[in-house]
């Protein structure tokens, strides 16, 4: 039996288009009237989460096709029905820049794309966990009691506690094509690669040149992956760690952009990506907690005196409560399955943390020396860590110098806490987790340390690039940015007065108008009267 490349391309297109459309349908009410391109990545992440939820609710793969087609038709119908609502605001120059960006990114990613499709699955985790689960879903047409992920007399290594989001995508692509082999089901990684490009299109506040640098760094041409000798294989082998790290970096990026610009679309993207992470791999739950924890700490630490600002943030979060519920649902359902199957991860003994007197044994010098040699040394780029530390120091100094000129140090402090501490907190927590390992630590480190180092690397790396790219934007356009920053209302009014000169009292109707569209309509009505 043989298929054509067109079959695989149409399967990927249908899944991608369907996920985007489903995300759009689920979120349009919360984001109506907002910039559609900015929230495009959020729609993609939400769509993937919703499709994962449907798989967990035991909808068959044939049923998934119906949902994908229905979502595309529904999204088109909604777009036609709401055609007066401007979702995309782009001009030809922006299109040209984006086309150049996509071209450069594809060129950079060509190495990984080639290996992704022309190399069969052969590594341990990829073969025995991810693509076995995908094959099981494919042969049983979705998740059911007969799927075989768990059955009483099963043998061998199964890891039934690993999430099914990525295997479900592979299974769907194989279902669409009509048969299974060990090459094209890896197209699920290609969908994540396309998601990365969508994310860069959605990050509209970043200059396209910085976006290109970010993508080039993320797809494998980065010092960490090269120094450990795995570049660019981690994104193509079928392991999920590399892509989990990239998506954690994207979650951090959008949250940092939200802190900087206060745009609701960026918060939407960050929330949906955050809830996608545990679906990609179990460690994603820890990454999400760390990223949003660092955000909360930064928010509280630098805005303690400004309670209204904190209230504003909380209110914005509360607007997205249905999206949050939808993001949490797959986690809850999957936990129920794991409890029923007794498939909880048993590699670590967290109960030892309660034994306060035993900390000397848990964090012994021998363990720390092993962890240092196998994990932290790799995270900090091995033999040229000094360059890495120099880069971090330069970023921090550059940030503070910029803050002195723009006098916006409060928000900057919040951004720095989020962007630069997330990766370091993750390193610290991973050291604790490794110390609680119930396996032989040497074996455990040798099988997983290089992959987990990726998460820390991406969090710190993307955090730094986000800070630098945003500060460049701020430093060169101070006059324009002053109006957009969330400075206190009195200060903003004073600034406006200083720029515009003496204020003449405006007509009462215009001062009370807050809706731009209404203001535009009134202005056009006045013109017609003249």
């Amino acid at each position: 039996m043989k298929a054509s490349a067109l079959d695989v391309i149409s399967a990927v297109s249908l899944y991608l288009g369907g996920a985007l459309s489903l995300g759009f349908l689920l979120s349009w009410y919360f984001l109506r009237g907002r910039d559609g391109l900015k929230s495009l990545f959020g729609c993609f992440a939400l769509g993937l989460t919703a499709l994962y939820l449907l798989v967990l609710f035991q909808l068959s793969l044939t049923g998934i096709t119906g949902v994908l087609v229905g979502s595309i038709v529904g999204a088109v119908a909604l777009a036609i029905w709401r055609r007066n609502q401007r979702l995309f605001r782009l001009n030809s120059v922006t299109y040209a820049c984006y086309a150049l960006f996509v071209g450069l990114s594809l060129l950079a990613g060509w190495t990984i794309l080639e290996r992704m499709f022309y190399e069969p699955v052969y590594q341990w985790d990829a073969r025995i966990v991810w693509y076995l689960h995908a094959k099981q879903l494919f042969f049983s047409n979705g998740l059911s009691a007969d799927t075989g992920i768990v059955f009483p007399n099963s043998q061998g290594v199964y890891h039934p506690g690993y999430p099914l989001l990525m295997p479900a995508i592979s299974a769907y692509i194989a279902h669409y094509v009509g048969f299974w082999n060990d090459y094209f089901p890896k197209a699920n990684l290609f969908i994540l690669f396309l998601g990365l490009l969508i994310a860069m299109l959605s990050a509209r506040s970043i200059h396209w040149a910085w976006k290109t640098i970010m993508v080039v760094m993320m797809v494998g041409f980065n010092p960490y992956m090269m120094s450990v000798g795995y570049n660019p294989l981690f994104l193509t082998l079928g392991y999920m760690d590399g892509w989990l790290a990239i998506y954690a970096g994207l979650c951090l990026l959008f949250l940092a952009l939200y802190v900087r610009h206060g745009s609701r679309e960026y918060l939407f993207n960050a929330i949906t990506t955050g809830f996608l992470l545990p679906g990609i791999k179990n460690e994603g739950a820890l990454l999400t907690l760390i990223i949003f924890g660092c955000y909360a700490v930064g928010l509280l630490l630098f805005n303690l005196r400004d309670r209204r600002f904190i209230q504003f943030h909380l209110k914005t979060w509360l607007r997205f409560w249905p999206i949050v519920v939808m993001g949490v649902l797959p986690l809850v359902v999957w936990s129920q399955y794991k409890n029923r199957w007794n498939a909880q991860v048993k590699d670590y003994d967290f109960s030892r943390l309660k034994q306060f007197g035993d900390y000397g044994t848990i964090f012994s010098d021998e363990k720390m020396a092993l962890i240092d040699a196998n994990y932290t040394d790799r995270v900090f780029l091995g033999n040229y860590w000094y360059l890495y530390l120099l880069l971090v120091a330069a970023t921090v100094i550059y940030c503070w110098v910029t803050a002195l000129s723009t006098k916006n140090w409060r928000r900057l402090g919040q951004e720095l806490t989020l962007s630069l501490s997330s990766g370091l907190v993750f390193v610290g927590l991973m050291i604790v987790v490794y110390c609680l390992s119930v396996h032989d630590l040497t074996w455990h480190l040798s099988t997983s340390a290089d992959r987990l180092g990726l998460h820390s690397y991406y969090l710190v790396g993307i955090g730094m690039l986000t800070m630098i790219s945003q500060l460049h934007y701020q430093a060169y356009r101070p006059a324009k940015r002053k109006h957009e920053e969330a400075t206190p209302v009195k200060k903003r009014a004073a600034l406006n007065q200083a720029v515009a000169g003496p204020v003449t009292p405006a007509p009462a109707m215009e001062t009370t108008t807050t809706n731009r569209r209404d203001a535009g309509k009134k202005a056009s009505a006045r013109k017609q009267k003249r």
């Binding site: 079959d7 022309y118 052969y122 025995i128």
Partner: protein, 134 residues
Amino acid sequence: MNQVFAGLKTCLILLILVVFMRGYYSLYVNLDKQPKPFMQKEEWLRAGTGAHVMPLPTQLAARLIDSLHIHDYHPVGQLVKDADGYVVGCLNQTAWPARMDSTSRNLVGYYQDIVKIPGVTIQHNYEGICVGRY
């Protein structure tokens, strides 16, 4: 002040470039050390392909299970221990939907391991790997 920013930005870009150049050097050094890719471009759109990268016992056992149309099997003997369980783990994925079941009456393993088991008749022997049945 803008000149200071421009200078700082240039320094940062140079630093990033140095880090990346150092990384590219490592890439070229490491590429030779990495295993050669298993590219067979004509195979990637054909059903059931991709098992040729597996260890030979996995390939032979999977072929045997497929040709005998067995729905379940139970690996025994040295086959289970080969490459720290990698051979059997891969067999699990390659032979699916045939299930690896500890209660199965179809035993898969090396010939010398299967013949030692009392009450088992050899069904098929394929280059040293065979299927026996209670």
